[in-house]
Each structure stands twice: as C-alpha cells, then as structure tokens.
Amino acid sequence: MPHRKEAGPVGLVKKKFFTFCEPPHEMVLEGGGRLGPITVAYETYGKLNRDRTNAILILHALSGDSHAAGKYSADDKKEGWWDATIGPGKAFDTDRYFVICSNVIGGCQGSTGPSSVNPATGRPYALSFPIITIGDMVQVQRHLVDHLEIERLFAVAGGSMGGMQALQWAVTFPDRVLASIPIATTAKHSPQQIAFNQVGRAAIMADPNFNDGEYYGKAVPKDGLALARMVGHITYLSDDSMHEKFGRRLRGKKTLGYSFNLDFEVESYLRYKGDAFVSRFDANSYLYITKAIDYFDLTLPSGALAKSLEKVKSKFLVVSFKSDWLYPPYQSKEIVKALMVNSVDITYCEIDSRYGHDAFLMDEGEMPKIVKNFLENVAARNGIAAPAAGA
C-alpha cells in the first residue's frame, strides 16, 4: 500500500565518480569519435531493494548536473535542481525507489567534457573533445547502470533534454527500462529550437575571449556565455509568466532612466541569470551539449518516428505544458501518436500551466502528483518492492 506521509528532504548527499573505457578500450561515439577514459559524476538517493528492481534514473536538461536533490552541506543555499520531486514521500519517493542522477558527458560538473584534462596531452580537451550525441549520453549512463549492478531500471525520467534521454533509453535498451517519463520534450529538435541554440553558440564564439575554445586558465568568454543563457531563459518563460514575474516594473529606480543602463526588472533578471551561469558553467560544454540536442532526431534513419519506436517495451507517461512554446505540446503529441501506433501502454497529460518550459522544474503544479501516481501504479502492478526499512 502506498504510504501517506509528509514529503521531506533527502538530506545531505555526496557526489560520486565512476571511470571506465580506459584506453585502448575507448568508447566509440555515434559521430565517429573515440573517448576514453570516461568519468561520470553521479549521485544516488534512497536504497536499492533486494532484487535491485527499484532504480530510477533521473536525466538532466542542458544546464543541469548530477545534483538533482538534497544539499552537499547544511550551509548550501539551494538544494539540487529537481528537489521538488525527489525525496521521501515526493514523486520520486526515496523511501520506495533508488534514485540515480548523473552528469552527462560533455558536461562540466564532474563528468568528462571539454574542460576535462585529456590524459594524452595533459591539457584540457577544449574543442578537440569529440562531438557527442544524446545516444552517447545514454550509452555512458548504461555503463553506470551496469556498474551499479542494475539489470533493469524501474524508470527513466527527465524534462527537456532529459526527456530526450528518457526516450532514447526506451529505444536503445528496450529490455532495461520498465517505465519512461519524457516531460516537456520532443523526439526531434525543430528548426526553431535549433535556431535558438545556434544564437547561443554564436554568442559564445563571437566573444573575444573565446580563442577557439582555448581559454582555460585565461579570461573565459563570459559575456558570450551569459548572452547565450539570457536567450535561453527567455525561451524557458512564457509571455504570461513574464508579465507576472516582472511586468514593466523598474529595478532600483522610480522613473525611467532614459539611458542604456538597466531600467526594467526583466533586464536585471536576465543579467543576473547570465552572470550566475558563467560562474558554474563552461562555455565549451554549452557548445557541445546544445549541438547534441540539435542533432537529436529519433525519427532517423527511416524518417518515421513510429518505425524507430517499434521495439519499445516500456510503459510511458508523457507530459507537456500548454504554455511551453519552446517544446510545445504538439511535439509531445507526436511522440504519443508514434507510441500509440506501436500499441505501447502510454498515458499522456497536457498540463494547464502558465509558466512555459520552466514549468517542469517548479515545485507547484500537478506534474509531481501525476508522476507519483503513475509510478506507484506501475510499481504495484509489477511487484516492485520498496527496500526493507533500515536495511
């Protein structure tokens, strides 16, 4: 029986590392490159049950990392990026499930990426890092799941780029995923989505400090990266949520400045978000990860998504948000249709949120409840036991 208790925090958590694919056994990437050794940074919350069948892999979006929930130390100001959904009694209930989240390759929060030192040269890879894809990210996660001795994941779940990985998992490893939860995502990146990513990349590459990516140990292309992030943030919000959040309110002044200094709240918000991003994110990682997203097209090779999804065995919960104009509901519906054609057990929900793409990260709203109910029912039907208490 599902237990009803107050949702709580996961508490203090630790980042862990796993290294594999040591040369000469490098991983061959989808784009043809080779990469090794590969280190993957990950965190886990909750406990595995005796059969090792209660693991959920959480998949992060463009700017996310392995720190999905909890705090590293009591002094941390903020919890992990999806703390709203991960913890005892929450959607991804850590009293029942063993939750894993890893940083994608190409990232900059502990997993091997362009800012990592290439052991062959003793210097950061920078742009000599091979091009990676969503499929490569998933292959790396599969190594981690093997390392954790998990034969089949109970669920994979993520929003945005995380949703792409959730789809990819169900396609590449149909026997290793019981349930897939792609949220606010698409099966292939649209021209509009590619265009926004290209603006971000162009901003980084146009920064005088970019230096063909060879900026490590020197001044970083922070203006370019901040600009990329500002454009990104506009696409994550909605017209409605911007009205609500900022309106035309002025920042730190009572009257218009009649200058090019910041006047409006929205301007200073974007400036703040851009600057904050620069302190935690690597510009080259932004290039590599956005490129991986742009290359994502599950309809290949046939051009028909339904054909690509033929071998899928997982159950699906697909969620979209009405006001999400970056990953609009029609893209989720295309996934739903293609799964339907293949008689996949699929539930689809289009949430009436006003908060645009960002809605999938928010504490409030219906999404966590839906996910919780869905998981509880799938777990019950498939005899997925909770771990023994105190074990």
Binding site: M340, Y348, C349, E350, E366, I370, N373, N377
Partner: protein, 202 residues
C-alpha cells in the same frame, strides 16, 4: 456530462463486454467505468479524456489515459486496434458524431454507444408545458453553457444506423427512475431516458 446517481448504464455495459477484451473508452471522465471494467472483467483498457481533472483522476486510478479530444483523436489508431470502443453519454458533446461513429467502428471491432434520449417524455413535457429548454439531473446545463451540442432520440439513432450500414446488435433502453432499470416495454422512444447500443459494421 457525468450522470449523477445510479449508474445502470455501467452495469449494462459491464454485461456487454466480455472478459479480457481490449477496450478504448472515449470521454472516459474520471475513469469510473473503465476501472470497473478493469476490475470486474480484466479488460485491457485505455481512455481518452479532454479534461485535465479527468486525466489526473484516471492516472490516480492506475488507468492508461490520453489527454485529448475525441474529434480527430482516433485518426492515428490503426484499424481494429480494439475489440470494443465505448462512447458512453458523450456523443452529444462531440463536434462530428457521424465521423466519430465511423471511426469507432474502424478502430474497434464493436462499438458500445450510450446516448441520452432527447425524446424522453419528461423532456417533451418540459418543453411543451414550460416552453423552456429541458433540464434534468442528468442534463443539468443551461442552453448557454451546455457542452451538449448534438442531441438525438432513440428513433433518430436507429435510423442513423440503418442508413449508414451499422448493425445494431443490441439496444438496451434505460430509465434512471427507481434506482435505474432496463426498460422492456413498448415505446422506448418515449420512456427511455437513455439507451446503450452494441454496434458493429454491416
């Protein structure tokens, strides 16, 4: 569109559907009928529901449900994807009942369609004596806010099936009076408050 009180129509539909069948319930609401079918008949069930609240309630019941509208919502299903497609007390709210009916018999082997009978004597009396649009517990809406846009009578529906090569395998006329009962007497068009049809292609 949810009928309040006794659900005689549910028990009639439960009797019509064989155990283990593959079912699609169009306009499944909060999933009450579908979950009864899953529990009592072990069907493989799927619902389509337009309201977010309905979808959430279905998910909480552990049902497989797609949020979407019925008009055009069946287009993507291959022929004969289901043994039975249910459209219970919903046909009056769809934009194109004729298209939906033909889609039901394309994607399903059989259709189970429950209609409110607009020729029910109380409706006739209401209009005749009050001169106002009929309202009942079962159809409680005002003319300006009703989601119900395509009413028909039992006779109308019979005729539609005849003209469109739809075989009526069963027609069960219902009254919600006295806790809900099946009518076996004459003049169903006058005395039935609703009717459940079991349909197939001729």
């Amino acid at each position: 569109m949810t009928m309040q009180g006794s659900r005689i129509d549910y028990s009639v539909i439960l009797d019509l559907i064989p155990a283990g069948a593959k079912i699609l319930d169009l306009g499944c609401g909060d999933g009450s009928l579908l979950s009864q079918l899953v529990q009592a008949k072990g069907v493989t069930g799927r619902g389509i529901e337009i309201s977010e609240e309905g979808v959430h309630a279905c998910i909480a019941k552990g049902l497989t449900v797609l949020q979407g509208d019925i008009d055009g919502g069946l287009r993507d299903y291959p022929d004969r994807s289901f043994d039975y497609v249910i459209l219970n007390q919903t046909i009056q709210a769809v934009k194109k009942p004729d298209v939906v009916l033909s889609e039901i018999l394309r994607v399903g082997g059989k259709g189970v369609v429950g209609i409110p009978n607009f020729a029910f004597w109380r409706f006739r009396f209401f209009l005749l004596f009050n001169g106002r649009m009929p309202k009942t517990d079962f159809l409680p809406y005002e003319w300006y806010n009703t989601p119900n846009i395509h009413f028909c009578s039992v006779l109308d529906f019979d005729e539609y099936c005849r003209k469109n090569a739809i075989a009526v395998e069963r027609r069960i006329c219902l009254s919600t009076e006295r806790g809900g009962r099946v009518l076996r007497g004459v003049r169903p068009n006058l005395f039935a408050e609703s009717a459940v049809y079991l349909l197939s292609k001729k």
